[in-house]
Amino acid sequence: MTDANESKLIERVARGDERAFLELYDRHASRVYGLTLRILGDPMLAEEVTQDTFLKLWSRARQYLAERGPFLPWLLTIARRVALDRLRLESRRPLLSDVNDPENVWHTVPDPGSTAEESRWRTLYFAVLSLHPDQRKVIELAYYQGMSQSEIAEVLNMPLGTVKTRLRAAMEKLREIWKEG
């Protein structure tokens, strides 16, 4: 949940308070940058998209409604959309070797359990890591590259039915772990 202090920060940002904005930036910039870097695979582009995401926050903070859900996923949803749009604009995809090697992507895991929130994302992080590499690959391409199942089948040169089966199996497994967590 979005804590009361954060809700106040967002309200202040909506009123044009620059200090509140920078405080939110300090809290969440690493999450936004982590996501955009994962999607774009290019530090320069990720930096630009992170900047665009926070500028959108600056101009649209009023649109955030706390009763509809926590702030961070809302912000990351914006970041994902901006990053995927940028990916399409650039007409490029990160090299498959990047996608296939999770250690290249997930190598900066902080020390465990410093906050409840970190504990939550850590559960999913390990859940994704626990997937079979073939399943993880389709999740990566679908979710972090914005590809449809047909596009994934084409990229991986495999039957569409296989992609569907792997993606469904991966999502079901993640849901089980997520619900248990």
Binding site: G34, E47, W106, R120, A142
Partner: protein
């Protein structure tokens, strides 16, 4: 719908939740979801999972320069934001209500002021009428005729109570730059101003009461001239009429 017919839609929900379903299947599933509560529940769970996947990536610290760059971008955006009226509906409604209230208040004040002016004008007319009536009924009042080329009327002179009343018919209206001015004339043929007046819009006659500062017996007559608005120290304009006591 049978279980077999339902199954293909159910299978597609995970991909749909993360936006990976192809366009043709997306349209079919969206249509199915409209009438299937259990599939909507299933979708809600996968969507929540998808949202959580956003937070499942480890954080990465962006370059410090990005914060500074954003700060400088904000300065530009701040100026624009200050110039932009970004009002919510309730603020807008309150603003409109205030404007309407202010307009109504201004209209009410204007109306009240207009009524007050009209009331003062009527009171003045009543007082003037009463004074004229009392002078006419007083035995010592002298009645002198006003008879010039342009106007006719009467001058009532009450030497005991030191009052002069003018009742003049058909006085032409003057434009805003001019006024009628009354002069008391002494034996040395000097003029002393006794007031300025304008004809009433709604009457064919004009009544004006003069209460001289000196005794009216010091004077030998009354004259009226047309003067610039506000009056003059001495007569400068056209004479309208003159009455000798």
């Amino acid at each position: 719908m049978t279980r077999d017919e339902h199954a293909p839609f159910l299978e597609n929900i995970p991909a749909y939740a993360i936006g990976a379903l192809d366009a043709d299947e997306t349209a079919a599933l969206a249509s199915h979801l409209e009438g299937c509560a259990s599939c909507r529940t299933e979708l809600a769970e996968y969507r929540a999972l998808g949202e959580s996947l956003l937070t499942a990536l480890p954080p990465r610290q962006p370059p410090a320069a990005l914060r500074k760059r954003l700060q400088s971008r904000l300065l530009g955006a701040q100026k624009t934001k200050r110039l932009t009226f970004n009002w919510s509906f309730s603020q807008l409604a309150t603003g409109i209500a205030l404007v309407v209230l202010l307009a109504m208040s201004f209209y009410s004040i204007t109306q009240m002021r207009s009524l007050q002016l009209e009331q003062a004008r009527l009171n003045r007319q009543i007082r003037t009428g009463q004074t004229v009536m009392s002078m006419l009924s007083y035995p010592a009042t002298e009645r002198l005729a006003i008879n010039s080329e342009s106007v006719v009327g009467s001058l009532l002179l009450d030497r005991e109570r030191n009052i002069v009343a003018l009742i003049v018919w058909n006085m032409p209206q003057l434009d805003e730059t001019k006024t009628y001015q009354i002069w008391l004339i002494n034996p040395q043929d000097e003029r002393v101003s006794a007031g300025i007046f304008r004809p009433e819009d709604d009457r064919v006659y004009t009544t004006y009461i003069v209460f001289p500062e000196q005794s009216v017996t010091d004077f030998v007559g009354v004259g009226v001239t047309i003067e610039p608005a506000g009056g003059s120290d001495q007569p400068t304009g056209e004479r309208v009429f003159k009455v000798d006591f």
